[in-house]
Amino acid sequence: MKHTVSVFLLLASFWLINSGYYKPLLLSFGLVSAIFVVYLTHRMDVVDHESHPLHLFNLKLPSYYLWLVGQLIVSNIDVVKRVWSGKGSISPCTAWLPLSQTSDIGRVIYANSITLTPGTVAMDLEDDRVYVHALSREGLDDLRAGEMDRRVSNLER
C-alpha cells in the first residue's frame, strides 16, 4: 500500500513540475493520468520493494550520497589527469571483487556506484562477487580496500 502511495505522489509531483499550469481543468487531467499510470503499474505488477526501495530512505542515505559525490570529484580529477598525460599513465586491469551485500538492491547500488565513479566499471555481477574493469591499478586497489563495499552494506542495515 505504501508503495502505491509513493508511486502516486512521485507521479503527481513529476506532473506538477513538468506542467507549470495550475488551472482546475489541467490539474484534473494530471490527476487522471497519474491514477491511470498507477493502475497500469499494478497490472504490470512492478510496484514492490525493489522498484520503490522505501526501506532504504533513512538518515544513512544522504550521508552515503555526500560521500559518493566526494569520490566522484576525486576520481574525475584522476581520470582527467590521465587523459592529459597520455597512454603511459594508464594501466588497465580487471578483477573479480568480493561483495558483502545481502539483498539484490544492495548489490545493484554497489555495482552502480562502481560504474558511476569514472575509472572503474562493473562489468558482471553475481551473488557474492562483481567483475570490475579499472583504468589504473590504483583505482582497483582503492575498490579492493572495501570502503565503498562497507558503506553500501551499512545502508542495508
Binding site: F14, I17, N18, G20, L72, I73, N76, V79, V80, R82, V83, W84, G86, K87, I90, S91, P92, C93, T94, A95, W96, A111, N112, S113, T115, L116, T117, P118, G119, T120, V121, A122, M123, D124, Y131, H133, L135
Partner: protein, 107 residues
C-alpha cells in the same frame, strides 16, 4: 550579488565544457574500448553536473530549476546503467580488455 552569481555560473559552465573536451580527448587517446569508456564516464558525471549547476545558477528560482534537477537525476541514474550494459555486452561479445589476466578466467 547578481554579478557573483553570473561569475559562478560562468565558471561552472567553463569547467564543465573543459571536462567534456577532456572526455572527448580521452576517447580519442585511450587504446581500447574499455579504457575509452572510462574517459566517456567523465562527461556523463562531473561535466553534466557542472553544466546543469551553471544553468541552475543562471535560471534562478522557479520551475526551470526543478526541471534541471530532474535532468541531472535522470542522467545520474541512466548513465551507469548504460555503461554497465555496454561493458557487459562487449564482454559477452568476446571482446577482451587490455591487461586481462588469463588466470582470472570467468566462471
Amino acid at each position: 550579488m547578481p554579478e557573483l552569481i553570473t561569475l559562478l555560473s560562468s565558471l561552472c559552465l567553463l569547467l564543465g565544457a573543459f571536462l567534456i573536451f577532456s572526455g572527448g580527448l580521452g576517447v580519442l587517446r585511450f587504446p581500447d574500448f574499455f579504457t575509452r569508456m572510462h574517459a566517456a564516464g567523465v562527461t556523463e558525471t562531473m561535466a553534466v553536473t557542472l553544466i546543469v549547476l551553471g544553468l541552475m545558477l543562471h535560471s534562478g528560482w522557479g520551475l526551470p530549476l526543478f526541471k534541471l534537477l530532474l535532468i541531472l537525476l535522470f542522467v545520474m541514474i541512466t548513465g551507469p546503467t548504460a555503461s554497465h550494459a555496454l561493458a557487459k555486452s562487449a564482454l559477452h561479445g568476446g571482446l577482451r580488455p587490455l591487461g586481462d589476466d588469463s588466470n582470472n578466467e570467468r566462471h
